[in-house]
Amino acid sequence: MHKEAAIREPLILGDDVTYSKITNDVLHAIEHEPTKLWKVLMTIATIVAIWGVCSILYLIGVGIGTWGLNNTMGWAWDITNFVWWVGIGHAGTLISAVLLLFRQKWRMAINRPAEAMTIFAVFMAGTFPMIHMGRIWMSYWVFPLPNQFGSLWVNFNSPLLWDVFAISTYLSVSLVFWYIGLIPDFATIRDRAKKPVPKLMYALLSFGWTGNAKAWQRFEEVSLVLAGLATPLVFSVHSIVSMDFATSIVPGWHSTIFPPYFVAGAVFSGFAMVQTLMLIARKAMRLEYIITVKHIEYMNLVIIVTGGIVGVAYATEFFIGWYTGVKYESYVYMSAGAATGPYAWAFWSLIFCNFITPATLWFKKVRTSLVLTFIISIIINIGMWFERFDIIVTCLSRDYLPSTWRMFFPTFVDLGVYIGTLGIFSVFYLLFLKYFPVLAFNEVKTILKSSGEKYKNMSDEEFKALHPVFKKDIK
C-alpha cells in the first residue's frame, strides 16, 4: 500500500533524473579536472590561508601583545571568532542528526556539505582557544592527563574546561557521523575509479564497503545511533560555550538566558552559513535539481524561527537589565555601554543584521528568492559575528570599576588571524568539493521518485505502450 500526501512536492525536480545521472553529476568534480573557477577560488583561498598562518605564527612567536587586547579586555576578537565558528558548526549536525531523527528526508540533499562545513568550522573554532593562550606550548594542560608535576589536576569548575570536553566530543562525534555517511559514497567512487592511485585511496577510505543489504542495514542502524548521540551534543556544545560567559560575573555576561539564546543563535548562524555555501555550490556544480528552492525555503524557515528566538533573547536581556535595577548591567545594556555609547555602532549593526534583515524572510517571495537569500545569509553571518563581539567586547569594556573602562582596538594581527581562518576554512571546503562526494548521493537516491512520478504523470496510453500487460492503477 503506497500512500502519498498529495500536497507534498517532490524533493528532486526534473523528469529526466535517473540514478546514474545523480551519480554522474555528484561525482563529476571528482572524476574530472578541476574547473577554472575552482582553481581561481583555491588560489585566493590559499593566499588568504597563508596570510592567516603567518599571522598565527607571528602571534605565537612574539606574544599575545600583537593583538589589540589590554588589561581590561582579556578577550576580544579571539573568542568572538571562536564562538562565531562554533556557532557556524552547528547547522551540520543539526541537519544530519536532528532531522534524521525527525525523518526529514529533505535533509539528504544538504547534510553532507553542511556536515563538512561543521567539521571545518569546528576546526577553525578550535584554533582560537589554542592560539589565544599565552603559552600555547602548555595547552595540553587543559586535559586531565596524568602527569609528573605532582598532584596537578585540571579545575573542573572552569567553564573553559567544560569547553574542552564539549568541543572535542562534538568534533569527534560529528566527524565519525560524517565519515560513516561517506563510506558508501566512497565505495561508489572506488568502483568507478579508473586510475590506480585514486582507486587505492578511495578503496582505503571506503573500508571495504560491499553495498550488500546487511551492510546497508547496519549503516542505517549506526546512523540512527549516532544521530541519537549527536542530537544532545547540538544543544550541549553551545550551551557550554555560553557558560563561558553566563557563569562569570561580568555584567552583561552573567545571564541565565545565555544557553538557549546561544544555541538558537548558533543554529541561526549555522543555517545562514549553509545557505551561503549551498547557494554557491548548487550553482557551480549544477545540482539545482537536488538542492531545490524548497530546501532553501525550508532552511529559511529554520532561520526565521531561530532568528525569532534570538530576537526575543535580545529583548529579554534589555528587559532584565532594566527590571533588575542592577546598575552595572543596566549601564551595559541600556546606556552608553551598548545602545548609545562607543559601541553603539556594533550594537545597531547587530540589530540590523540579526533582527531587521531576517524579518524580511517572513515574506515568501523573499525566502524563495535565491539572490535575496544569499544576501540575507551573508548579512546574518556578519550580524552573528557582531553579536559575539558585542557580548564580549562591550561588556568587558564597561564592567564594575569605571576606572578600568577601556576600548578595544584591533591590530593587523587580529585581522590577519580572523581573515586567515576564513581562508583556511575555504581551502578545506574547496578540497572537499573537489575530492569528496559533495552530496550523500547514495542516500539521495532513496528519495528519487523519478519512476513513480513519471508513471504517475503518464497518460494511460503512454503507460499501455510501455507496459502492455499491466493496468495503471492510480487508486
Binding site: L69, N71, R135, S158, L160, I249, K327, W405
Partner: protein, 1055 residues
C-alpha cells in the same frame, strides 16, 4: 710577505734529536685501522649494517641532538669562598641611610640582598618624616643601576682617570683667582665644612699642594626657588632666618594658597604624616583643609574645600584673608569673597592652631602670609623658627649675581654640584658658562650642564656614599654606603678634599666631624665609637636645641602696606600658565628613571609625558578633544610665555583647573639623558626670571599646531567618575559621620527579595552559593585595610610595589594600550554633578531634571566630572577575595586560594587564557603580553633587559615570563619570611611585624596589613570599624581588603 718564521716545540725539534723524531712518528700510539674497515670493498659490502640499523642510529642521532638542544640554560650560583660575616644568602640586610637630592629629604632604610640594595623604605625612627618617603625616594634605588651613569671622570668629554683629572684640575684651579661653587642646597654639615674650608684657605702647604683659594664663593641654587619665602621671613622678623618648620599635627585649619604641601612644596615629606593624623574622623577633631589653586595638585585633590583661582590672584587672596581676619589693609577685590569669609571664620575659630601657606615665590605675598600667621598666633605653635629647615637655601638674587659675574668674565672657575642649571636656566646659563675657563661638574650622570663642562668628576650614587644631613636645626642623620661603587666614580666631598690638599678620606672626615661637633652635644653615649655605631644603626640623631630666637625678640616687622600695594599692582593675564612639578618627576630628578616615568600622575593618571592641563569646558569652547582613550588624538599647542615658546605640547582636560589658566609640569625634556631626552618638553624656559626673583606663572598664549601624526597620550585611567556606583567608593560628610549611624554613611549591602508578597531585605550571606572558606577564624587570614581619609594618592606605594615585585616597565606605547603591569594602582575618581545619587531611578530623574530632556537611558551626564570636582583616591590591588571570581574559571587551577586567605598565582601552571582577568571585578590582574625581559620593543627602558638593571631585581620574587598572568600577591614572600621569623622565635606572628611593600612605604600609614583572624591586630580593628567597607561587596566575593569610608570635613549643605 709570507710568514717564514718557524717555531720549534723545543730544542729537541731544532736539533732533530733522534728520540724526538722517533717520538713524533709515534704521536698516535696506535695506527688507526682505517684501511681495515674501509679499504676492503668486499668486507664493507658484506658488513651487516642493515636498513634497520641505519634507521636506529639515525633515529638515535636525531633524538640525541634534539634532546641536547632542548636543555635549559644552567644558571650557576657560586657560593662564597669566604662568607662575609653580615651576609647570609637569602636573607636581607637593612641599613639606615639618608636620602637628599637637593629637594626631598628622607631618612631611609635600605634593604640589601647579597650586597645589592634593592628596596628603600622610610626610617620610622625619624621624628621629622616619621618614615615618609615618596615615589622619587623609593625609586632612587633604580638610578643606582642605571647603565647610563658616568663610569669614568671625563676631561672635555673624553674619559680619563682620577690622577690625571686631579692634576689637571688642581693646576687649573691654581691659575684661577675667582672660583665659584654653584650647588643645590647642601644639608650635609660635613660637606658644608669641606666647602667652606675649600673656599676659605688660600696658601699652599709646605709640600706645594693646594690648600684652598682666595675670594672663592659659594652660591646655592634650588631648581624650584623658595627665595621669596626666605626673603619675606628675613624682612618680617628682621633676623637671618630661612624656612620655618610647620607642625601640621596641631593645625586644625589649613589654608594653602597654591602650595602643594603634600606633593612638592618645601619639605612635603615632613608634613604628610602629620597632616594625615589630623584627617581621621575618629579623633576629637579633624582638620579642615582649604586650598586655593590654579592647577589641580595633590593637596588640592585632598582638600575639603578647593577653590580654583588664577595664580595671579594668589596675592589678592592672601591679602583678602588677612583683611578678613582683622588685618588693617585695603585688600584688592577678588571674586572669592564668600570663600575667603569661610576661611577667615575657620581661622579665627582656631587661632594658634592653624597654618596658612602660599606657594607663591613673591616676597610681598609671603610677607602677608607671615602677617596672617602672626596675627593668628601660629608662630611658636604650629610654625616654628626654633627648628628651622635647611633644605632650601637658594636665593634668586645671588644666582642672578653669579650669572652676571660669569657673563662679565669675572669667574675663572666654577664647580657645579647637584644641579643641572643649563637645563633649568637654559641657554642663558650655558652662554655664561661658556665664559668660564674652568668648569667642573660633579654630575653622576651626563646631563645638560655636565655636557657643557670641561671636567666631569662623577660623584657616587647616594647608595654608594657616606653622607650626613642636618635638615632641621638639631636634627641629624647619617647616610652609609650600601654597595661598593659600581663605577670609577668618586664622591664630590672626597674630590674637593683632594683638591683642597686634604689627605683624609671623606669617611674619616665625617667621623671626625661628628666626633667634634655632634658627639659633644649628646649625653646618651660615653664614647664616640658607641655613639657613632648607634647613630649609624638608627640613622638619625635628634638633639633638642634651645630656641634660637626668644619669644620676646620675635616681633613681626613686615611692611604690610608696601606688600599690599605691590600685590595690588600684579596684573593677571587672560590666560595664565602655572608651572608645576609633578609627583613622579619633580624638578627633573626623576626624568631618567623608568619607574618614575611610568608612574601615573596621581591626578591626571598620565605617564611618560608632560602636557598642558586645561579646564574641559574651556577646551570644548576651543574645540579641543577632552577624551583620554588609547587612540584619541590630542590637540597639540605651542605655549608662549614672555616671548619664549615651548612647542608641541598636548592639551588634556583637567577638571578643576581654574578657568583662564593652564598648567604645565617642569622637569621633562632633558636634552641629555637616557630615556629623559625622549620624554616630554622642557618647560623651564617659560619660568619668568625678573629682578624680583623667579615666578612660576605668567600670561600665556596658545597656538594650535596641526599635526600629521596623531598625538597620543598614555593614560592609565580614561573614565573619571564613579557613575553613581557607591559600592566602589564610599564617602560621607563629617556631620553624618558624627551622628554615628553606620547605616547612614556606610550601609551594609543587602538584597531585596520577595517573600510572601512582601519585599524583605536579606544579608548577602543568605544568597551564598559557596561554602565559607575554611580560613575564617582558623590560622592566619591575611588582609589589608586602606583608609581613604588618609590616603593622599601620593603613589609611593606603587613604586614600592614595583621595586619589591620586579614589575616590568613597558613604555609609553604599551601603557597607552592599557597594559600597565603595575600590581597596584591608585584609582582616582572625580565627582560628577550626579555623584551622590543612590538608585538608578533617582539617577535618571536627576539627569532628566538637569538636562531638561527625556534622556531616559542616558548616563552621559554622570560620565563627565563636575567643573570643580571633589576627588577621591582609591588604591586598588588584588582584593584576595575569599570567593574569588578568578579562581573558579581557571581551567588549569593556576590561581587558587591559600588556607591563609591569599589568592595565589602559580605562574608555572598558568597557560594564559586570561579568563581570570575577565572575571575579576576589580581588573587587577596583569598579563605578560610580551616577553618584557627580552623583546626588542622594551630594550630602551625596561631595566630588566641589561645586566646592571637586573641587579635591582628582588631575588625573592620570580620574574614572570611571557604569556602568564600575574597580580598582587600581598607580598607573599614577606609573609613567608615573617612567619619563619616568628617560628624561629617560637612565638606567634606579632601584629605589624609583617609589612607589605605598599604598607611599609605609605607615608601616612593609610595602608594597614595584618592578620584578620588576630582579634587584636590593627587590621582587624579597622575591619570592624564603622567606616569599613569592601569594594562592590554586594557581589559576594568576600574580599580580604577593607577600605575605610572617606569622611570629608564638610557639612551636608556644603557638600
Amino acid at each position: 710577505m709570507a710568514n717564514s718564521k718557524k717555531y720549534w716545540k723545543g730544542l729537541e725539534q731544532l736539533n732533530e734529536a733522534p728520540q724526538f723524531l722517533e717520538a713524533s712518528k709515534n704521536e698516535f700510539p696506535e695506527e688507526i685501522p682505517v684501511d681495515e674497515f674501509l679499504g676492503d670493498k668486499n668486507s664493507l659490502e658484506s658488513s651487516s649494517t642493515t636498513r634497520r640499523d641505519f634507521l636506529k642510529y639515525l633515529g638515535f642521532g636525531v633524538a640525541a641532538a634534539s634532546l641536547a638542544s632542548c636543555e635549559s640554560p644552567v644558571t650557576k650560583a657560586i657560593p662564597y669562598l669566604n662568607k662575609p660575616e653580615e651576609i647570609t644568602p637569602g636573607k636581607a640586610n637593612y641599613y639606615a641611610s639618608t636620602y637628599f637630592d637637593g629637594n626631598d629629604y628622607a631618612p631611609i632604610l635600605v634593604k640589601t640582598r647579597e650586597g645589592r640594595p634593592i628596596h628603600i623604605v622610610g626610617n620610622t625612627q625619624s621624628s621629622l618624616t616619621k618614615g615618609a618617603v615618596n615615589a622619587r625616594v623609593n625609586s632612587s634605588v633604580l638610578s643606582l643601576y642605571d647603565g647610563n651613569r658616568l663610569k669614568e671622570p671625563m676631561i672635555n668629554a673624553v674619559a680619563s682617570d682620577w690622577a690625571t683629572i686631579d692634576a689637571a684640575i688642581i693646576k687649573d684651579l691654581q691659575n684661577s683667582t675667582n672660583i665659584k661653587i654653584l650647588s643645590s642646597t647642601i644639608i650635609s654639615p660635613s660637606f658644608t665644612t669641606i666647602i667652606s674650608e675649600f673656599i676659605g684657605k688660600k696658601e699652599l702647604d709646605e709640600k706645594g699642594n693646594i690648600r684652598g683659594y682666595n675670594a672663592s664663593n659659594w652660591v646655592r641654587y634650588d631648581a624650584i626657588s623658595y627665595s621669596g619665602i626666605i626673603e619675606a621671613n628675613v624682612e618680617s622678623f628682621g633676623q637671618n632666618l630661612c624656612i620655618p618648620t610647620y607642625n601640621f599635627k596641631k593645625a586644625k585649619t589649613i589654608v594653602s594658597v597654591g602650595a602643594d604641601f603634600m606633593g612638592n612644596w618645601l619639605d612635603a615629606l615632613m608634613y604628610v604624616n602629620d597632616y594625615a593624623q589630623t584627617r581621621k574622623p575618629e579623633n576629637d577633631w579633624m582638620s579642615k583643609h582649604f586650598q586655593f589653586e590654579a592647577n589641580m595638585s595633590l593637596s588640592g585633590s585632598n582638600a575639603d574645600v578647593r577653590t580654583p583661582v588664577k595664580p595671579s590672584e594668589y596675592g589678592a587672596i592672601v591679602a583678602g584673608i588677612y583683611k578678613a581676619i582683622g588685618g588693617n589693609i585695603n585688600a584688592p577685590k577678588t571674586a572669592y569673597d564668600n570663600q575667603i569669609k569661610k576661611v577667615a571664620k575657620a581661622l579665627l575659630a582656631t587661632k594658634g592652631e592653624s597654618i596658612v601657606i602660599c606657594g607663591s615665590n613673591d616676597k610681598n605675598v609671603q610677607v602677608l602670609v607671615n602677617a596672617i600667621n602672626n596675627l593668628l598666633g601660629n608662630y611658636g605653635n604650629t610654625i616654628s623658627f626654633d627648628k628651622s629647615s635647611n633644605t632650601k637655601l637658594g636665593l634668586d638674587s645671588r644666582v642672578a649675581e653669579l650669572v652676571a659675574d660669569m657673563n662679565a668674565g669675572k669667574v675663572d672657575a666654577i664647580l657645579i654640584y647637584g644641579i643641572d642649571p643649563v637645563f633649568t636656566m637654559g641657554d642663558e646659563f650655558k652662554a655664561a658658562l661658556g665664559k668660564v675657563k674652568t668648569t667642573i661638574s660633579f654630575a653622576s650622570k651626563m646631563n645638560d650642564t655636565a655636557a657643557a663642562c670641561k671636567y666631569v668628576c662623577p660623584t657616587h650614587h647616594q647608595l654608594e656614599s657616606w653622607s650626613d644631613a642636618n635638615p632641621v636645626t638639631g636634627y641629624y642623620s647619617l647616610g652609609q654606603p650600601t654597595i661598593s661603587p659600581l663605577f670609577n666614580t668618586r664622591q664630590a666631598e672626597e674630590s674637593i678634599l683632594v683638591w683642597a690638599g686634604n689627605k683624609t678620606t671623606y669617611y674619616d672626615y665625617i667621623k671626625q666631624f661628628w666626633e667634634k661637633f655632634i658627639f659633644p652635644q649628646q649625653s646618651a653615649s660615653l664614647f664616640f665609637t658607641d655613639f657613632w655605631n648607634k647613630s649609624l644603626e638608627s640613622g638619625v640623631v635628634e638633639i633638642p636645641l634651645n630656641p634660637i630666637i626668644s619669644v620676646e625678640n620675635f616681633v613681626f616687622n613686615g611692611d604690610v602696606a608696601k606688600a599690599v600695594s605691590a600685590i595690588a599692582a600684579i596684573k593677571g593675564g587672560e590666560l595664565e600658565i602655572e608651572l608645576t612639578q609633578n609627583i613622579a618627576i619633580g624638578d627633573g630628578v626623576g626624568a631618567d628613571n623608568p619607574w618614575l616615568q611610568e608612574l601615573p600622575d596621581p591626578i591626571t593618571k598620565i605617564t611618560w609625558d608632560n602636557y598642558v592641563t586645561m579646564n574641559p569646558s574651556e577646551m570644548e569652547a576651543k574645540g579641543y578633544n577632552t577624551h583620554f582613550g588609547q587612540e584619541e588624538a590630542m590637540n597639540v599647542v605651542n605655549v608662549t610665555v614672555n616671548g619664549k615658546t615651548v612647542n608641541n605640547l598636548p592639551v588634556i582636560a583637567q577638571p578643576g583647573q581654574a578657568k583662564g589658566t593652564i598648567g604645565l609640569a617642569l622637569g621633562y625634556g632633558k636634552k641629555v639623558g637616557n630615556i629623559a631626552e625622549l620624554v616630554g618638553k622642557n618647560a623651564y624656559p617659560l619660568v619668568a626670571s625678573t629682578k624680583d626673583g623667579i615666578s612660576y606663572y605668567g600670561a600665556a598664549t596658545l597656538t594650535n599646531v596641526e599635526t600629521t601624526e596623531p598625538y597620543h597620550i598614555a593614560c592609565t585611567q580614561v573614565q573619571h567618575t564613579i557613575m553613581g556606583r557607591e559600592a566602589i567608593v564610599r564617602e560621607t560628610t563629617i556631620d553624618v559621620y558624627k551622628e554615628g549611624n553606620k547605616e547612614e554613611f556606610n550601609p551594609t549591602p543587602v538584597i531585596e527579595v520577595s517573600e510572601g508578597g512582601k519585599l524583605v531585605e536579606k544579608e548577602l550571606k543568605a544568597f551564598n552559593l559557596w561554602g565559607d572558606q575554611p580560613v575564617e577564624n582558623i590560622g592566619h587570614r591575611w588582609g589589608m585595610s586602606i583608609d581613604l581619609n588618609t590616603c593622599t594618592g601620593c603613589s609611593a606605594c606603587v613604586t614600592s610595589c614595583i621595586a619589591e615585585n620586579n614589575i616590568a616597565v613597558i613604555g609609553k606605547d604599551e601603557v597607552r594600550r592599557a597594559r600597565t603591569m603595575h600590581w597596584m594602582r591608585i584609582d582616582r575618581y572625580y565627582a560628577s554633578t550626579y555623584q551622590n545619587v543612590g538608585d538608578i531611578e533617582g539617577t535618571l530623574e536627576k539627569t532628566k531634571e538637569a538636562t531638561g530632556k527625556g534622556t531616559t537611558f542616558s548616563y552621559q551626564e554622570m560620565e563627565s566630572p563636575a567643573d570643580n570636582p571633589m576627588v577621591i583616591h582609591q588604591p586598588m590591588m588584588c582584593q584576595h577575595c575569599n570567593h574569588a571570581g578568578c579562581e573558579t574559571v581557571c581551567p588549569v587551577a593556576a590561581t587558587t586560594h591559600s588556607n591563609e586567605g591569599l589568592n595565589m598565582m602559580a605562574y608555572n601552571r598558568c597557560i594564559g587564557t586570561r579568563y581570570c582577568a575577565n572575571n575579576c571585578a576589580y581588573k587587577v590582574r596583569r598579563f605578560n603580553w610580551y616577553n618584557y625581559t627580552a623583546y626588542k620593543l622594551f630594550t630602551d627602558f625596561n631595566p630588566s633587559q641589561d645586566d646592571l638593571g637586573r641587579m635591582v631585581l628582588n631575588p625573592d620574587v620570580v620574574v614572570r615570563t611571557r604569556g602568564v598572568m600575574e597580580k598582587c600577591s600581598l607580598c607573599v614572600q614577606r609573609i613567608q619570611a615573617g612567619k619563619l621569623e616568628a617560628k624561629k622565635a617560637g612565638s606567634k606572628v606579632v601584629d605589624g611585624s609583617i609589612q607589605t611593600a605598599c604598607s611599609s612605604s605609605c607615608p601616612t600609614n593609610a595602608i594597614t596589613f595584618g592578620d584578620l583572624n588576630d582579634t587584636k591586630s590593627s587590621v582587624r580593628l579597622n575591619m570592624e570599624n564603622d567606616r569599613a567597607f569592601r569594594v562592590i561587596e554586594e557581589k559576594g566575593q568576600e574580599p580580604n581588603i577593607y577600605y575605610q569610608t572617606k569622611v570629608r570635613n564638610l557639612t551636608t549643605e556644603e557638600a
